[in-house]
Amino acid sequence: MTRASDRLLLSGGGIVFVCLVVVLIYQVLLPFLLIIWTSLKVAHPGDPEFLELSFTTANYFRAFAIREFWEASLNTFYFASVSTLFSFVLGTFLAWTVVRTNTPLAQFIGMITLGRIIIPGVIITISWILLASPSIGILNYFITETTGVRRFLNIYSFWGMVWVQSLEMAPLAYLLMSAAFQSTDPRLEEASAIAGSGAWSTFYRVSLPLILPATAASALLLFIQTVESFEVPLLLGGRARVPVYTTEVYFNTARTPTDWGLASTYAMMLLVLSMALLVVYFRLVRHTERYQTITGKDFKPRRIDLGGWRYLTCALSLLLVFLITGLPFIMMLYASLMPRFQPPTLEALRDVTLVNYRSLLADWNYSVRPLWNSTLLGVGSASVVMLLVAAISYFVNKSRVRSRKILDFLGFAPIALPSVVLGTAFLWFYLLVPLPVIGSLTIIGLAYLTRYMPYALRFVSTSMVQIHTELEEAAAVAGGTWWKNLYRIYLPLLRPGLMAGWFWVMVHAYRELTIALMLARSRNRTAAVIIFDLWSNGSFPQLSAFGVLMFVILIVLVSVGQTVGKRFGVQEQV
């Protein structure tokens, strides 16, 4: 049978395909070429020799010769592997509990899990220092008081880093896996149940294999994001004596002038690693038709009845979300009400004040305007990114255009670029190309588009591969145009992935620091720049107050986003 999508180049799809190629070349390929070029140069950008057509591998030899680099690489591998495993298990358990079971308080648990993403990473890490530092950690204080054991917990350790990082990453795993669980046809599970399998057996033998693409995507993203993580290695890794890749890049490039050759070389190595992981991912999901569970037949997600076990899953989930979100949020709220940085004690509670909120809100230009800038950037870049990746994912998974894999490669390749390198590439690029974007929100938005495309792409692709092409073929037979099919069939069915991705991108764009810091000037400062400002000035109480304000704004934005999203898409059968 001829697939409807084969005719897309003659329809509206052809125009979209060409536009996508142009956008990806501009947004991804040009910064990449700049980085590849720089990694093969000893001269700095801007030097006359930088433009000459002579290249060297000196930067690569130099990078490999740094002993600490290899030590850090090994640490990074352990740190990323263990954190990925833990966060995946935590996130998948929560996603399954919330989306596919009749566990009480499921929606509340889901909401609180996602709430974690909203709290800035710096605040979370400092909160855990206050909770589990050997000297001043409040948890250690309680343990000593009740058991007499001193310094039981040590956040400044490899396992302390893994703990904080796993909790940091668990909501991402939750988002990816819940999108996949929502798109899984329950009739297969029903068939398993009719055949006599229990809930666990059904999950293991039916549900899990069906969500293999999402599992692979989750593991891939969790691993890469942990490799890229910075706050935890910087704030805990120094004391834990666990140097990792990002701290090595940071310390190797922290001196002025920045060694752009070395920084670009590190970026290239991360690119190679990411590409290798992507190849593994593609091999795992190469038979996409196996995962197509959303067909033209009736489809309604349904929850599994766990019987009495639902109370256990409820208790476990509540404990997890308390650790993931509740405890750091309480610490942030507590600190925001303190006039100065102090561990939580009864004596400290006497000093509760709103002075931090008052001073932030009184200074409109300093704190409120950046919050508005971040709102525009968060909502704008999330919406544009999701539309872009929906189109990319369609061509990659549902068309037979010969060069479609290039789209996936270009869309995913920026994952290999550490934020500092990407921010610098954009800064250099727009200094070189005299477009009037420096100092505007546009330059940050363009960088975010490149930055978050890979993550958004995996969110949507995991849902896209589950949609059977027979739906589009049926629509084509009925005379539906390409545009109509995309709007009427794919977008509604992709809703779980699109909403999860939109939420993830919006919140991360809101929180993003490194790129915003590189590209910020007086008028385009974002909320994250203010967070960094407050952090570097040591104003933890004010930083926490700002974090609470950001939390409230993001909750409102997410609620609005969900309301809009619910206007189209499948209805869940409870």
């Binding site: 040009l30 006359p48 140097p243 002038p257 006039p339 300093y366 800064l427 190309v433 100092g439 040591g538």
Partner: protein, 362 residues
């Protein structure tokens, strides 16, 4: 695909050529208008000079400034300048000193003259000076600088020093008594302070100060014995100070001393003490004017204003060291080691020694 590749090469070539063109233009300019103006101004009497600067600034009507103070104090500093020169449309960014230098270099190298004047720590200036990016600005304002800070003044007028900052030792008085406290820099190597002394990761400006105080060999010995005493390496000066004051560890092997004084302003009971017996390492913060500034009159006004009574009083209120009046909290008889720029070769060797003995995280 061939067409795509051709188009790509075209776009890249255009981008690189535009940079090349800008670079050529930049290299060709032997003396910029700003430098010519400052040379002429140096010949005028003070009142004529001021008049010409203010008239010129009025015509320019704007100024782009990068401050390396952060947050509220930077904003208050900027607001005071704006109030004094209300006819200048003032645009300020606040960045760390090294980031500011990096961004300034990037702008100038690509021929985009977006910044008129920056406030940079003098030890971070080496790379900017090396690339000949700053205008020489002789100003009579420096004559007000107190004698003890004369070492901060650049005889070649490449920067205008306007405040000073410090690296010194301090401790938590709940964890260390005055008698047990370190008295000298080498005391930090004592077994009593094993695992109790914190530092930020290696910083050129700190290493340059140690070098000025001790010389290269002794600095390396100090780094070695500090490394053997299991120091705490944690990024973030103010956070590190806050952690020490909450009892996380006992001693700040190096930090800005004002961070503790600021904490005491918020909480007078904060357990903080400065080690006055060990020399304090002092470096200047300076105003640096871009040689390609588009607003040379307004930039010069800013450099001069930074040494005005008003700006110096603000500097003191913010607990930084003013150059024309008394320091807000340090006594006059303090042992001060002042320094400016230490050569790149030496700082590279000191960084290597830091990595060898202390490591980035060890």
């Amino acid at each position: 695909m061939k067409k795509i590749a051709t188009t790509l090469i075209g776009i890249i070539s255009a981008a690189l050529l535009s940079a090349s063109y800008a670079e050529t233009l930049y290299a060709a300019a032997a003396q910029t208008p700003a430098e010519q103006l400052y040379a002429e101004l140096a010949k005028l009497k003070p009142d004529q000079r001021t008049k010409r600067l203010e008239e010129g600034a009025r015509k320019e009507g704007k100024l782009t400034f990068v401050h390396t103070w952060r947050g509220k104090i930077a904003r208050e500093f900027g607001s005071a300048f704006e109030k004094r020169y209300s006819y200048i449309k003032f645009e300020m960014s606040d960045l760390g000193s090294q980031d500011a230098a990096e961004r300034f270099i990037a702008e100038e190298r690509t021929g985009r003259h977006l910044t008129d004047i920056l406030s940079l720590a003098v030890p971070d200036l080496a790379v900017v000076l090396k690339q000949n990016l700053v205008a020489r600005y002789p100003t009579p304002a420096t004559s007000k600088i107190l004698k003890q800070y004369g070492g901060f003044v650049d005889k070649d007028n490449r920067w205008t020093a306007w405040y000073w900052s410090e690296h010194g030792i301090s401790y938590n008085t709940n964890l260390v008594s005055a008698a047990q406290a370190p008295k000298e820099w080498f005391d930090l190597c004592k077994p009593a302070f094993k695992g109790q002394v914190s530092f930020d990761p290696a910083e050129t400006r700190f290493l340059a100060g140690l070098y000025t105080m001790m010389g290269e060999e002794k600095t390396k010995q100090w780094l070695k014995c500090i490394g053997e005493n299991q120091p705490i390496i944690q990024t973030g000066h103010t956070q590190r100070m806050e952690l020490m004051l909450t009892g996380d560890h006992a001693v700040q092997g190096d930090n800005y001393l004002y961070a503790g004084i600021e904490a005491m302003r918020k909480n007078p009971k904060a357990p903080y003490a400065i080690v006055y017996t060990a020399p304090i390492l002092a470096f200047a913060g300076s105003m640096v004017i871009s040689r390609n500034t588009q607003n040379p009159h307004a930039a010069a006004l800013m450099a001069d204003w930074a040494l005005s009574d008003e700006a110096q009083k603000l500097t003191s209120d913010f607990l930084r060291g003013p150059l024309t009046i008394k320091h807000p909290y340090l006594p006059d008889n303090i042992k001060l080691v002042t320094y400016n720029i230490v050569s790149e070769d030496i700082t590279n060797r000191l960084h290597e020694a830091w990595n060898q003995y202390i490591g980035r995280t060890k």
